[in-house]
Assembly symmetry: C2
C-alpha cells in the first residue's frame, strides 16, 4: 500500500498544541495522528487510526490464540443490570448517564461485567459449556474528573475486555494463567518496556490481580519494585510484613505524662526529647502511635467512624485506604462537627483508651501491621495535653483488627525478600496498560449466573476479567519510544513500514522514488511516500519524516545523480547508510521482515 | 480457521423470540447471531460479528479504492458544532442528549456532518488540498420513536459515512459519481437485490440525491418504479408532471350552488351526481378541489397556517409533505381551535376565496401541480353547505405557489416516460441501505469552511455525503436471502465458507471430519465444524446447519463407511452430491473460490 503525502489527510504542526501536557500528546497532535474533539475525547486521523488498528489486531490475534471468542456489546446500556450489581450508584459521577425519549435510564458503558455475565447466563446452562473466554474490542466511556494527557486518560476510549467463565477455582486459575501468558506476548510485541505488578483485588471482590504497567515518568500509577528481587507491586497492593511479636515481660508499665501543646507528632517528639530524653537514642516519630479518625459513608448510605493507628512517621495513603475499603465507600478525615459529636475523642491526643468498638468513643479501631505484639509506643492519653508512654501492644491495648494502609516509602523492606535478603523497595511511575484479575463469583452471584455441575447441582460460575486499552496503548507506546525530534514507532505498530522521501526537484528523483514505492508496495510493504512537489523543501520533508516516526526512512536525493545511491536511515538510532538505488527495495524488504 | 460448534459461543433456539417482527430478526436471534440488550440495541455474538466485519471490510476496500481515507470520530460529541448548524434543536427527540459532570451538553452522534466539516477546516486551507474524500465506519445513535425489526431500525447502529470536499460543482459531481460507482460495486458484492432510486434532497439543503434500496416486503421505504422505463424514485422524490395549460375561453362562468350536508368529498360527489348530473360522464372525486389546512411549527418556534389545494381523489402524503417542508418543521391538520381562530375558514367548505396570503383567512395557499391553468373545479364556497362549480384555475383563482405532496398511486403516469411512452408507476417496498447526496455548501457555510482558490480568493467548499449502514445490511441481506428453514448467506458475507457436520457416533466419522476440517483450514477456508458428540443427534446438527445458513454444507456420515463418500449440499438450492471423502477438500476449495 502506498500513502502519498501529497494527498494524505494529515497536516504536521510546528507548534505544540496549547492543551498538551505530556510529550506523547504533543507529538501525536503535531504529527497529525489525533485531534481533540472535546476534553478527553479525540478524533483519530488516518495515521493514528492505522496505529490503533494495528494494536487492536495484535491483541485480537493473541486472544484468538488462547481460544477466546470475539463478540461486541453495545456502548449504550440499560440501567437495570448495573442496578442489580449496585454499580449504577457506586459509579457516582464517574459515568455518563442519560435518558431516552421515554424517560428510561441508560448509561454509556464504562466496563461490561454485567453484560458479559448476562449473555453467558442467556446462552449457557451446563458445566459442559465451560470453560469459556469471550472478549470484545469496543468503545468505552468514563466521565473522568480530570481527563488528561491526551489518550492516556480519555473520556471516550477503546478497550479490549475479556472475561473467563469457569465452574471452579482451578479452572479460573488456568484461564487467568492463559490470559497472563497472552498478555505477556502482546506486550512483548507492542515493543515497549513494561512491568507486571501485583495489584489489589480485594475491592473488586476477587482474589488474584496483576497490572501491566508501561514504565513512564508521565504515568499516573506509582508502583514499587524491589532493588534486589523481582518483586513489583502497585502501591495499593504492597503487603507490609507484620512486625514479629517481641517479648514484653520486662517492659516498664505504661505511664501518662503531661505533654502540653503537643497536638502534632513534631511537637510531641520535640517535647519527649526535651522532657523525657532516652539514654540510647533520641525519640523519633516512629516511636509514636498516631491515631487518625475517618468518617466513612458506605454505598448503602450508612455511615461509620474508623480510627487507624499507625506509626507517627507515616501518613495514611488515601489510595491504599480507598482500595482496602472497597468501591463506593466515601471517606474523609474527622472534622470539627465529627469531633463535637464524640466528646471522648480528644483531638490531637487520641489514644487507644478511647478507641475500639467497645471503648467510650465507639469507633472501630484498626492497627497498622507494624504495631506488633509487645511493641511499646507513645500515644495520646485521650486528654488534651497528655500522652501515655511505654504503652505496650497486646498488653495495654489492642485494635479490632489490622489495616495495611500506611504510605509505602522508598527504603521500606521488600515484602518478598526483605526478611531474608534485605531487599528494599523503590518507587517508580508507570501507565496502567493492562489489568488481569480474578473476579470470582461477585458478578455471577449478583446476576445469578449458575450452571449445572456433573451431579446435576446448580453451582455459581467463577469469573476472571482481563483488560487492555488499545487507545491508551497508542499514547503509551509513543511516550515510551519518542525522542526530542519526534515519534519513533516500533515496527509492529508503525503506521507504515517505510517513509520514502523524494528530496529534490529533478524528474529523475521522482521517477526513481515512484519506482521504489511501487516495487515496495508490490512486495506487501506499506509505504508512506512523500511525493510532494512545489514549495515543499527537502528540509520540511525530513522534519516531517522525523516527526511522524516511521521506523525506516529512505531518501531519494542528490546522491542518486552522483553515485546512484539512496539513503536508508533508521529513525530510532539515526544510523544512515547509502544503498544502491537498484537494490534498495530488497534491502528494505530485508529490514522490514527481519 | 476452524470454529468448533462444541466450543463456539452460540446457542440456536427452536422458538421464535417474542419481540421479533420480521423473518430476518427472528432467524438472526434463533441462529445465535445477535441478542437484544435493550429496545433497538443489540449485542453481536461471534457469528453475527463475523458477518458484520465482512460487510465492513467489503465497504472499506471499495472506499479505499476510490481514494477515500479512513478516520474515526468520537460518538460522544459536544453540543457546540450542532448548535452552529441548528441541528441540536432540529433533531428534537430524535437524538440522545446528556450532560457531563460539569453540566456541559453532549450528544451521541446521529450523523457527523459537523465533525467532518470542522476537521477539514482544521487541516486544510487551499484548493490544492482538494478534492478530498474521508470516511469512517463507526457506531451511531438515534433515539427512534419506534425501533423495530431488529437491526433494521436500531437505536445504536454501525454506519459507514463518507464526505467529499470540492472547490466547485464539477468537482462535487465527479466525487458523487465516484461514490455512486463504488456503492454499485459494494451492493453487487453484498449479493442482494437492490434498486437505486431518486431521493428528495431539498430538505438537506443539497441538490442531487439517490438511495440504494434493498428490495424487501418488510422494508419501511415505499418507492415507485416505472413499468416501462428504468425510472425509480423514493415516494418523497416523485415529481408530478405539472398539468399542461388548457384553454378556458369558452368555459362557463363560476357559479355557487347550495350543497347542503356535503362536508366530505364522497357526500359532495354524490350530491353533484344527483343534483347537477353531467351529460358526458358522472362527477368524480378528481373533479373536486380539496383544500386541506395545516398548522406548521418551524424550528425557530414561529407558527404558520398552510393550505394545500389538490384533487379530491388524493390525500396529502405526510412523508412527502415532511420532506418538502424540511427538517424540523412540525405540522398537523387544523383542529377545532385553529378553525375557531380563523372564522373565515368554513370547515368542510373551504375554497380559494378565503385562501392565499392576501385573502381573508390570511393562509398561505399552495396548489398541487395537477391544478393546471385553465382547469375547472368544484370546490368550497367558504360558506357551510355551499360549493362553487366551474371555478377555473388562472381565471377565478390562483395559489401562492405549487407544492407536490399529494399521494403517489399505482397507475400514475411515469414522470420520465409517461408523456411519451405511457409508462405508469407501481409501488414497491424496500430497505434503505445506502444514501448518497450532494450536500452542497450548507454545512460549509454554517461552519465557515473556506479555502483559497487559484486566485487567492476565499471560496466556500462544496460537500457530498455518502452513507451505508453495515449493521442494517446484515439484516437486509438476511431478509433478502433467507428461506423457510433458515438463514442463507451469500458467500461473500457468510460467517464461514463451509459448515462441516460430523454426523454419527463412529470414530471414523470424526477422524475423517477432523482431517477434512484441518485440510480445508490449511487452504485458507473458514470452517464451521459441528464436532459435537454425546447427545447431539445428526438431525439436530442438520437443522442447526440449515438455520445458521453457511452456503456449503458438508456431511460426513453413514456413506463414509459404505462407499467412502461424503455429502456436499448447497444451502441455497438444496442440491446435494456425494463426493469421495478423499477429494472433498479440493472439491470444496473449488466451490469457495469459484
Amino acid at each position: 500500500m502506498i500513502m502519498r503525502m501529497s494527498s494524505l489527510f494529515v497536516r504536521t504542526l510546528r507548534e505544540d498544541p496549547a492543551d498538551a501536557e505530556v510529550p506523547s500528546h504533543r507529538l501525536l497532535v503535531r504529527a497529525g495522528y489525533i485531534r481533540r474533539a472535546a476534553p478527553g475525547i479525540y478524533t483519530w486521523l488516518p495515521l493514528g487510526l492505522k496505529v490503533l488498528r494495528k494494536i487492536e489486531q495484535i491483541i485480537r490475534e493473541e486472544m484468538d490464540a488462547i481460544g477466546a471468542q470475539e463478540l461486541s456489546f453495545p456502548a449504550l446500556l440499560p440501567r437495570e443490570p448495573y442496578e442489580a450489581t449496585n454499580r449504577w450508584t457506586e459509579y457516582g459521577d464517574g459515568i455518563f448517564r442519560l435518558k431516552d425519549r421515554k424517560g428510561n435510564d441508560y448509561l454509556l458503558g464504562p466496563t461490561h461485567e454485567e453484560m458479559f455475565t448476562l449473555v453467558v447466563k442467556d446462552l449457557y446452562s451446563s458445566y459442559k459449556d465451560l470453560p469459556l473466554s469471550i472478549y470484545q474490542i469496543q468503545t468505552k466511556y468514563r466521565d473522568e474528573a480530570r481527563p488528561r494527557a491526551g489518550l492516556l486518560r480519555g473520556r471516550e476510549f477503546v478497550m479490549k475486555d475479556s472475561y473467563s467463565f469457569d465452574v471452579d477455582d482451578a479452572g479460573l486459575d488456568a484461564s487467568y494463567q492463559a490470559h497472563r501468558n497472552a498478555y505477556i506476548r502482546i506486550f512483548d510485541k507492542l515493543g515497549f518496556e513494561y512491568v507486571i505488578v501485583k495489584a489489589e483485588a480485594g475491592a473488586m471482590g476477587g482474589s488474584k490481580s496483576e497490572e501491566f504497567l508501561a514504565k513512564a515518568e508521565v504515568g499516573e500509577d506509582t508502583y514499587v519494585r524491589c532493588t534486589r528481587c523481582d518483586y513489583a507491586a502497585n502501591v495499593e497492593a504492597v503487603d507490609t510484613t507484620p512486625a514479629a511479636p517481641t517479648a514484653y515481660d520486662d517492659a516498664p508499665a505504661a505511664h501518662a505524662e503531661e505533654t502540653p501543646d503537643t497536638p502534632t507528632i513534631d511537637t510531641l517528639v520535640d517535647h519527649l526529647n526535651e522532657k523525657f530524653p532516652r539514654d540510647d537514642r533520641p525519640w523519633h516519630a516512629a516511636d509514636t502511635l498516631k491515631n487518625v479518625v475517618f468518617s466513612l459513608k458506605h454505598p448503602d448510605g450508612t455511615t461509620e467512624a474508623l480510627a487507624i493507628g499507625l506509626p507517627g512517621d507515616r501518613d495514611v495513603d488515601a489510595k491504599r485506604l480507598e482500595s482496602k475499603l472497597g468501591e463506593g465507600v466515601v471517606f474523609e478525615p474527622f472534622g470539627d462537627a465529627d469531633f463535637a459529636s464524640r466528646p471522648s475523642l480528644a483531638k490531637g491526643y487520641i489514644g487507644p483508651g478511647a478507641l475500639g468498638e467497645k471503648k467510650p468513643a465507639e469507633v472501630r479501631y484498626l492497627l497498622d501491621p507494624r504495631v506488633g505484639e509487645g511493641s511499646a509506643w507513645v500515644t495520646g492519653a485521650d486528654v488534651a495535653g497528655s500522652h501515655v508512654l511505654d504503652l505496650v501492644a497486646g498488653r495495654d491495648f489492642s485494635g479490632d483488627g489490622v489495616i495495611d494502609v500506611a504510605e509505602v516509602r522508598d527504603g521500606d523492606p521488600c515484602p518478598a525478600c526483605g526478611d531474608t535478603d534485605g531487599g528494599i523497595l523503590e518507587s517508580a511511575r508507570g501507565i496502567e496498560m493492562g489489568h488481569i484479575f480474578q473476579l470470582g463469583r461477585k458478578y455471577a452471584d449478583a446476576l445469578d449466573l449458575k450452571v449445572l455441575d456433573e451431579n446435576g447441582k446448580l453451582v455459581t460460575v467463577t469469573m476472571g476479567s482481563y483488560g487492555i486499552g488499545p487507545s491508551r496503548a497508542v499514547a503509551a507506546i509513543a511516550e515510551g519510544t519518542l525522542d526530542e525530534i519526534g515519534l519513533c514507532w516500533p515496527r509492529e505498530v508503525a503506521p507504515a513500514d517505510v517513509h520514502l522521501v523524494a528530496a529534490g526537484k529533478d524528474e529523475e528523483v521522482f521517477a526513481a522514488a515512484d519506482r521504489i514505492a511501487t516495487e515496495l508496495s508490490a512486495q506487501g510493504i506499506d509505504v508512506l511516500y512523500d511525493d510532494r512537489t512545489g514549495k515543499v523543501s527537502p528540509g520540511v520533508k525530513f522534519k516531517d519524516a522525523e516527526l511522524i516516526g516511521v521506523p525506516t526512512i529512505v531518501v531519494v536525493g542528490k546522491s542518486l545523480g552522483t553515485d546512484g545511491t539512496v539513503e536508508v536511515k533508521d529513525r530510532a538510532t539515526g544510523e544512515r547508510e547509502q544503498v544502491a538505488a537498484d537494490s534498495v527495495v530488497d534491502h528494505v524488504v530485508g529490514l522490514v521482515r527481519a
